[in-house]
């Protein structure tokens, strides 16, 4: 069935329209890549799906698992299985990564009607998850993202995703600023989390990431609309011809 159905979605930031009618359907078991030039609205789409209150939805609808996603506060979306890996993960001095992860894990479990886990049980779970993103357990004792390198922050995002096991993972430019080794680790983590009953949306500016996370569908966002959709070969074509090519296509179709 369709996990996510976005219909004619329009959204603004600080009164400025960014998304101007996005329509997209994501089935379980699939990987969708959203590409596009700077300012095209890629990150806005990710933020709107995660429920960031700084973004205002002006019209359109989003149905997730048959529910009205836009009516749900961000924590309920997360509890229902939506996870966005942040482009710029937030530093939270004073809250340990371990405490944060366990709190999040237990909130999600509670929402599913499952028992909360105690710190010892959680530590066992973490050993397995840390391996997935090649992280040392000392990272758990540090404050959330505080003083982390760019690569560590992104790996920490994937670690959270591994712990929460979302139905819909949204990677918001997770590859930006990563060297090739960090990129491989992050992509490897994402691939290992892939299941027949979940789906992933990969938002990226570059084709490079898609060598490691192979998409089933590629959509090119230009000026707040999907200008072109295709298979993974579209990403390669974009890499070769550049974004000007689709920008012109979008211009031609609009006129």
């Amino acid at each position: 069935m369709s996990l996510l159905v976005i219909k004619d979605l329009k959204a603004s930031v600080a009164g400025k329209p960014i998304l101007k009618g996005v329509t997209l359907t994501v089935e379980t078991g699939s990987v969708h890549a959203i590409m596009g030039p700077n300012g095209s609205g890629k990150s806005t789409l990710a933020q709107v799906l995660a429920g960031n209150p700084a973004y205002e939805v002006t019209s359109g609808s989003v149905s997730y698992n048959g529910r009205d996603l836009l009516a749900m506060p961000p924590e309920e979306r997360a509890q229902a299985g939506i996870f966005m890996a942040f482009q710029y993960p937030v530093e939270i001095p004073g809250v340990s990564n371990a405490y944060f992860l366990r709190a999040a894990y237990n909130e999600v479990r509670k929402a599913r009607g499952e028992d909360e886990v105690d710190p010892l049980e959680f530590a066992d779970l973490m050993d397995e998850k840390l391996e997935l993103v090649d992280m040392d357990s000392s990272m758990l004792n540090r404050s959330v993202n505080t003083g982390f390198s760019g690569g560590e922050k992104k790996r920490n995002e994937i670690l959270q995703m591994a712990v929460l096991e979302p139905k819909l993972g949204i990677l918001d430019e997770t590859d930006s600023g990563l060297d090739i080794d960090a990129l491989r680790i992050v992509a490897n983590g994402v691939n290992k989390l892939k299941r027949p009953n979940n789906a992933t949306i990969v938002v990226t500016h570059y084709q490079r990431l898609l060598n490691y996370i192979v998409p089933d569908f590629v959509h090119v966002l230009v000026s707040g609309r999907i200008a072109k959709s295709g298979g993974k070969e579209l990403a390669l074509e974009l890499e070769e011809k550049g974004y000007d090519w689709v920008t012109e296509l979008a211009g031609a179709s609009a006129s």
């Binding site: 966005m84 942040f86 937030v90 405490y99 709190a103």
Partner: protein, 431 residues
């Protein structure tokens, strides 16, 4: 009239003939000074943001003898989870020494912890009272000197390093209702000695009472003292606490002031860096709610060259509470190479909470490094969304961020039991 009530109380206490002549003379001089000064009004620059009318307009009785019915179990909430015998503890109930609750059996050689009402028979103790905390200009210090009946005297001899913390625990119970207590403490850390003193003001009651404490601290050459003041008075109590410190060469004074109790409280921490290479670290945290008013005034006098000070005070204000921070740093002309840093951060959890923050630097030397900064803010929206996007409910996310704000300064507490105890207190309050 309230003034008559103080005069009547003074007539009683001044007739107490069991007290050494030097103390009686000090009481008389201090009471005369208090009568002349009166309670401070907001016209007094040091009390601009804090009205003491709730204290000044009420009559509080002086308790003539030992009162109270406190057992060891009642002290558990204020003991930071440490077992009997782990710390050296001197307990005062409603202002009076309670030997049966105190635990001073394991004091090492060179460490004295005694109650003032016993210790002041020694001339050198009587002389020290008021030698640092003068009653000349501070009305509450004068009031304390006039009415002090007990307190703790802590003396650490040269070169002695005291491993276990020394806990001065002042606790009140229902018998303290409508009463006033004026604890007076002396802490003397001699040359190259090291100690940790925790000064707790707490209550097993919800009565209205008035605590007015003064602690004088003398630090010898190369000595160091960690001094944690924990103010957890009853919610309808009034608390004024003054700490005055004098530091000799290469000494280090580390202070932490926690304030969560009392309807109206004022804490003064004053230190004079009177020897080269000496330094002070003054940190604090106040967490207020309801109608609470909490004022901290700190004063650091850099009186010699190459002295340093570090100061971080944080406030978390909810409800209609009012927090005040006034941090004074004076650098005397001789105090070249002074290195000072002061920070005050406030987190406002409600639209009706109120903060007044006033950093005050007066620098009369030309080769110094001094900075100060103050921030007032609300919960960070980006961090809040981040937590919520991981499934953490709004209320818990807000509490976690509030805890995190406090944890940053609690981390500076070097005694594990105290730090963990206060972290627990904070977590329970907000999570």
């Amino acid at each position: 009239m309230v003034a008559d009530a103080y005069a009547a109380a003074f007539d009683v206490i001044s007739g107490d003939v069991g007290v050494p002549a030097a103390v009686r003379a000090l009481r008389r001089a201090a009471f005369d000074r208090f009568s002349a000064l009166g309670f401070p009004t907001p016209k007094n620059e040091d009390w601009h943001y804090t009205s003491v009318a709730p204290i000044a307009d009420q009559e509080f009785a002086l308790l003539a003898s030992r009162t109270g019915d406190i057992g060891r179990d009642d002290l558990a909430p204020f003991s930071f989870g440490v077992g009997a015998g782990d710390w050296h503890t001197i307990v005062f109930v409603n202002g009076r020494f309670a030997p049966e609750l105190s635990d001073l059996r394991k004091l090492p050689a060179g460490v004295e912890v005694t109650d003032l009402a016993t210790a002041w028979s020694a001339p050198d103790v009587a002389e020290r009272i008021g030698s640092l905390a003068s009653h000349e200009s501070h009305a509450f210090t004068a009031l304390n000197a006039a009415f002090a009946q007990d307190g703790a005297v802590v003396r650490i001899a040269r070169n002695v390093e005291v491993g276990r913390p020394i806990h001065l625990l002042f606790v009140t119970d229902a018998a303290a209702a409508r009463a006033m207590m004026h604890p007076r403490n002396l802490i003397i850390v001699e040359r190259h000695a090291t100690a940790t003193v925790i000064e707790t003001y707490a209550s097993a009651t919800d009565s209205t009472y008035f605590t007015n404490a003064v602690t004088e601290v003398t630090l010898g050459d190369g000595s160091s003292l960690r001094h944690y003041k924990i103010q957890r008075e009853a919610s309808r109590a009034y608390h004024v606490g003054t700490i005055e410190v004098e530091q000799a060469r290469d000494s280090h004074y580390v202070s932490f002031s926690l304030a969560t109790g009392a309807e109206l409280s004022r804490t003064n921490v004053y230190t004079t860096l009177d020897g080269e290479g000496s330094g002070a670290t003054l940190n604090g945290l106040y967490m207020l709610d309801g109608e609470q008013h909490c004022d901290h005034q700190t004063q650091i006098i850099h009186a010699q060259p190459n002295t340093f000070s570090r100061e971080l005070y944080k406030g978390i204000l909810d409800g209609r509470s009012h927090g005040v921070f006034n941090g004074k740093v004076y650098v005397r002309p001789i105090a070249q190479k002074t290195d000072g840093k002061q920070t005050n951060n406030t987190l406002l959890l409600s639209d009706t909470a109120h903060v007044d923050t006033k950093p005050q630097l007066e620098i009369f030397a030309d080769d110094v490094k001094c900075t100060h900064g103050a921030t007032v803010g609300q919960i960070d929206q980006a961090a809040l969304f981040y937590l919520k996007s991981r499934g953490i409910a709004n209320a818990l996310a807000r509490r976690l961020l509030t805890y995190a704000f406090a944890a940053d300064v609690l981390e500076t507490i070097e005694v594990d039991a105290v730090r963990e105890g206060l972290e627990r207190t904070t977590l329970e309050r907000f999570v």
